[in-house]
């Protein structure tokens, strides 16, 4: 049977896009236009809230890239968020640099620092890696408490004049910061979609599924993970700088807060759908809707969040988006790689294969 089939000829094409992702592309494009115009239809609070949502989508997408795709479950990403923040403060206060220049600088420092971090942590596997990331983050909390130059445990504030130096008018400043957040989230998601569409995306999944087989198929496991981890650290650092530009003060506890920058991010990713690009976006929307309604109840809000995360994990392991996507085969980003084959008449066999990739 097999032997016979070898003689047959097929023409085939690889398609990345289907009806749902075609719809998705249009949807995202319209949404982006709408959101980019927010300064013209939204008030200050809307813009600020949207900015915060973007920052969480970015953080959650990055965590999702690491945990959901690269199998690197980190609970220490707050290190990079916090460092990004500190770079901004130190750069702007001590270095006298323009605050916006410090944003990419924060990313850069995190990216560079991620390399030695990873060299230590990649010696660990699975749960050990996870705990290792946490301990490493705690090291930063402890060290920064001792550094008097950045205020030690009491931290430092960003004086209003520094923030006001970003743009001449209050509107100009606020629009600019809003657009930066939007640019950040678009860049992060764009980066992730790009990675996933290349062979490196497949490599990540392969490593997650079976490391030994991945190695035997030519994948340099540590290098692939290193690249992803460093890229995520870079983006986390930029996000951190932008976030703390809004907070106006920073302490080791707020900078390296596991609750703010990792636990919430995990909740968002889990509820939305881990291992899906759409997941963190949906998750962040749910998270913030809940917060708008429940945040004033303090503890109750957190309890509800915990319960939802547990229920989602038990009833829909791939999150709410995963549940929908599995059910209806939806995918709002063109990430599929379907092989479509049609048998062609034997005499045309010679010119069998045509590749068409979108």
């Amino acid at each position: 049977m097999i032997a016979a089939k070898v003689q047959d000829a097929f023409s085939f094409r690889v398609s990345h896009i289907d009806r749902s992702s075609r719809f998705g592309l249009v949807f995202w494009a319209l949404l982006l236009i709408l959101l980019a115009a927010a300064p013209f239809w939204g008030d200050r609070q809307t813009m600020r809230l949207l900015g915060e949502i973007y920052s969480y989508i970015a953080l959650a997408s990055l965590w999702n890239l690491l945990a959901g795709y690269a199998g690197l479950v980190s609970i220490g990403q707050q290190v990079f968020v916090g460092l990004g923040g500190y770079v901004l403060y130190v750069g702007a206060l001590a270095g006298g640099l323009p605050p916006l220049l410090c944003v990419p600088l924060g990313g850069l420092l995190c990216g560079v620092l991620a390399v030695p971090v990873v060299l230590v942590l990649f010696r660990l596997r699975g749960a050990y890696f996870t705990i290792g990331t946490w301990v490493l983050a705690e090291v930063f909390v402890q060290v920064f408490q001792q550094v008097k130059a950045v205020g030690g445990g009491s931290g430092i504030s960003l004086p209003a004049v520094v923030v006001k130096s970003i743009a001449q008018s209050r509107d100009g400043r606020e629009f600019l910061i809003y657009w930066l957040f939007l640019a950040l989230v678009v860049a992060v998601i764009g980066l992730i979609v790009t990675i996933l569409r290349t062979r490196y995306g497949l490599a990540l999944t392969a490593i997650r599924d079976n490391e030994m087989a991945a190695k035997s198929n030519g994948i340099d496991v540590n290098r692939t993970r290193l690249i992803v981890f460093v890229a995520a650290a870079f983006a986390n650092g930029m996000a951190g700088a932008l976030i703390f530009l809004q907070k106006l003060s920073i302490t080791p506890f707020s900078a390296f807060s596991i609750n703010d920058w990792t636990m919430n991010v995990i909740f968002i990713t889990v509820i939305g759908g881990i291992g899906r690009v759409e997941g963190p976006i949906l998750g962040a929307v749910i998270f913030f809707v809940l917060r708008e309604f429940l945040a004033d109840y303090g503890s109750a809000y957190l309890i509800v969040l915990g319960v939802i995360a547990i229920v989602v994990m038990l009833k829909a392991r791939r999150g709410l988006w995963g549940y929908v996507a599995d059910r209806y085969g939806w995918q709002l980003f063109p990430l599929a790689r379907r092989l479509e084959r049609t048998r062609i008449v034997p005499d045309a066999a010679a010119a069998a294969a045509t590749i068409e990739a979108h």
Partner: protein
Amino acid sequence: RAATPVIKIGHVAPVTGPMAGFAEAQPWVLDGIRKYLAKGLEIGGKTYQVDIITKDSQTDESRTAEVASELILKDKVDIITASSGSIDTNPTANVAELNEVPCITTDDPWESYYYGRGGTATKGFDWTYHFFWGLDQVLAAFIGLWQSQDTNKVVGTLFNTAQDDNSWHDAFIPAIAKAGFKVVDPGQFPAFGNDFTAQISAFKKADVQIITGNLFTPDFATFWAQSAQQGYKPKIVTLGKAFLFPSAIESLGDRGLGVTSEVWWSPDYPYTSSLTGSTCRQLVTDYEAATGRHWTQPIPFKHALFEVVIDVLKRTKDVKDPKSILSAIASTDLKTIVGPVKWSGQPVKNVSTTPVVAGQWQKHGERIDIAIVNSGLYPEIHTTSKLLPLG
């Protein structure tokens, strides 16, 4: 007829999280304030409805900044307030400064508030004001206390690295030395430690008889038990923060009796509320009757915060103009339940200080209470007991 115009006051405090104890009485205090405001507030002949919108900071700087922004941008409050530690006061004030909204805060040593936010001796802030005591005042009370006792004048210090501990540490060490004491400073350490062997052996080695500093209660409790286990006993223990709440002292048991602490306020203070006319004693009686709980020192400060805000609003020419509110703040001169509040430029532009003295936890019958044992810089506040030996 147009609806009653509304004035909105925003308030940020740690209702949950490690500092939740400081905001524990908030519902009761606000209840009283809201009752006072129930019929509206008359300003310049016009009656306004006054809404107080509270937000929980969860004792988290980031969250504080978020909720403060929300109050300003979404709820569009006319004036914003915050209390209970620099985690709440500083980010709230920073956000207010940036968004140019008047802001009054309290319940945080002013050095942490002022220098922690980047204020300098010459340059203060435009939109943000604070009233509370400062470390010099605390030091005066503490040192006075120690000088009244017979010791070898060797002081050991215990300071955390967190929150306002840096300003405490940096103010305490030189001041104590200057007063003629020898300081043994093992260094600052992270909060919630579980082993104090290093500190204890340093104190033993130097024969430290007086312990001071600023600690969370659990840390002190651990330190205290380990001191006993390792055979160390000082003569005087005078700490900031650790001995603030009666529940903390109760949890120490008999070994907690006799410790000394800063006293921000007590029912024996000679002040009255500008809103209700209630005396300090009356406030405590009312609170304990209503809630069945032991009074705590943050209660009057929260009350006083709203005393000041309401007084400011009443004096404001145009309540819808932030600048107008701001000038009313600057010209405040009010006698509140925690003492006079007046931003006169002393000690710095945006700070008005309130009295602070030294007290000791003592047991009278079944009830433990804090007795004032040294008046420090405030002779008008009378001591209520003399210092008893450490339990």
